[in-house]
């Protein structure tokens, strides 16, 4: 896993360095102009967050069924990255909204459900940090609750009246915008993979240190 982290981080770093050039060359959106370019890293950050939630949810189910510590370590690592990428989405969105809507924040369905989803995974991490022994199972339940919330966030703009654009906007992008968007999305997913691999490795290292301490006490 260690061998995978460095090339992944290097590739993600390269994409992050080149993304602004490709984004700058992408066509301007006709109504919003320059500020629409926030889209190229706002939406990929949510892609990365939803992917991390999926990993966390599946690993939590696996942990609840098999009680394998490796599944719990993966779930914990993915939950932490959910908070990181969600924070990027929650901070970049209002900067776009300030220009597009005239307000940083609106308590509408899309924005509120996204914030609630982020808070659920923030709660997961606090539970793991301060919950003490046995918090793994409770946290796995919280992760499943969080994963069940994802469809509400995704379809909220279609179901309720909201100022936020519908998710179908990604599929209807003009050809002049697609390369920048897919390049950026690929970069975000790559950096998610690299950070997830590194975070799991840290958790595995910590677990082996704990085991070694217990063995040393027995000597």
């Amino acid at each position: 896993m260690r061998k995978a982290v460095v090339p992944l981080l290097a590739a993600a770093g390269f994409i992050f360095m080149t993304a602004p050039i490709i984004i700058a060359r992408a066509r301007y959106e006709s109504t919003m102009g320059l500020v629409q370019k926030i889209f190229y890293f706002h939406v990929p950050s949510w892609f990365a967050m939803f992917t991390a939630i999926g990993v966390c949810g599946v690993a939590s189910v696996r942990y609840l069924v098999t009680r394998k510590p490796s599944a719990d370590r993966l779930a914990l690592s993915a939950a932490e990255l959910t908070v990181v990428f969600g924070l990027i989405g929650l901070l970049t969105g209002p900067l776009w909204g300030r220009k597009a809507w005239g307000h940083y924040w609106q308590w509408d369905a899309k924005l509120t459900t996204a914030l609630v989803l982020w808070l659920i995974f923030a709660a997961y991490n606090l539970l793991r940090r301060f919950g003490g022994p046995g918090s793994e199972r409770l946290a796995a339940g919280v992760a499943l609750f969080g994963m069940a919330n994802v469809p509400f966030v995704y379809w909220s703009a279609h179901i309720w009246r909201t100022v936020h654009p519908k998710t179908s906007v990604v599929m209807t992008l003009g050809p002049g915008m697609r390369p920048a968007f897919y390049w950026s999305a690929f970069g975000f997913l790559l950096i998610l993979g690299a950070l997830l691999a590194a975070r799991v490795r840290l958790e595995t290292l910590r677990a082996s240190i704990d085991d070694a301490y217990l063995s040393a006490e027995d000597l």
């Binding site: 926030i38 890293f41 990181v84 990027i88 220009k99 840290l202 240190i209 301490y213």
Partner: protein, 75 residues
């Protein structure tokens, strides 16, 4: 003695749509600072996370060294 001056007439009421691109420059919000701020957010959040991750790795390695010191030497 002069007669008091009449108050200036108020501007006519706005009763039609004005596209944002036709607003005076003083009324428009510049997009570039918002775009730069959003890009900075991405870099700052990721950099802070990588730094905390590196710090936690460093601490784990210190624990490992301390543990190696506790163990009896191999025969």
């Amino acid at each position: 003695m002069q007669a008091p001056q009449p108050a200036p007439a108020p501007p006519p009421a706005q009763d039609e749509f004005v596209p944002i691109s036709q607003l005076p420059a003083s009324e428009q919000l510049p997009a570039a600072p918002l775009l730069i701020a959003a890009y900075a957010v991405v870099w700052i959040v990721l950099a802070v996370y990588v730094w905390t991750l590196w710090k936690r790795f460093w601490r784990a390695e210190q624990d490992l060294k301390q543990l190696a010191g506790r163990l009896p030497p191999a025969k």
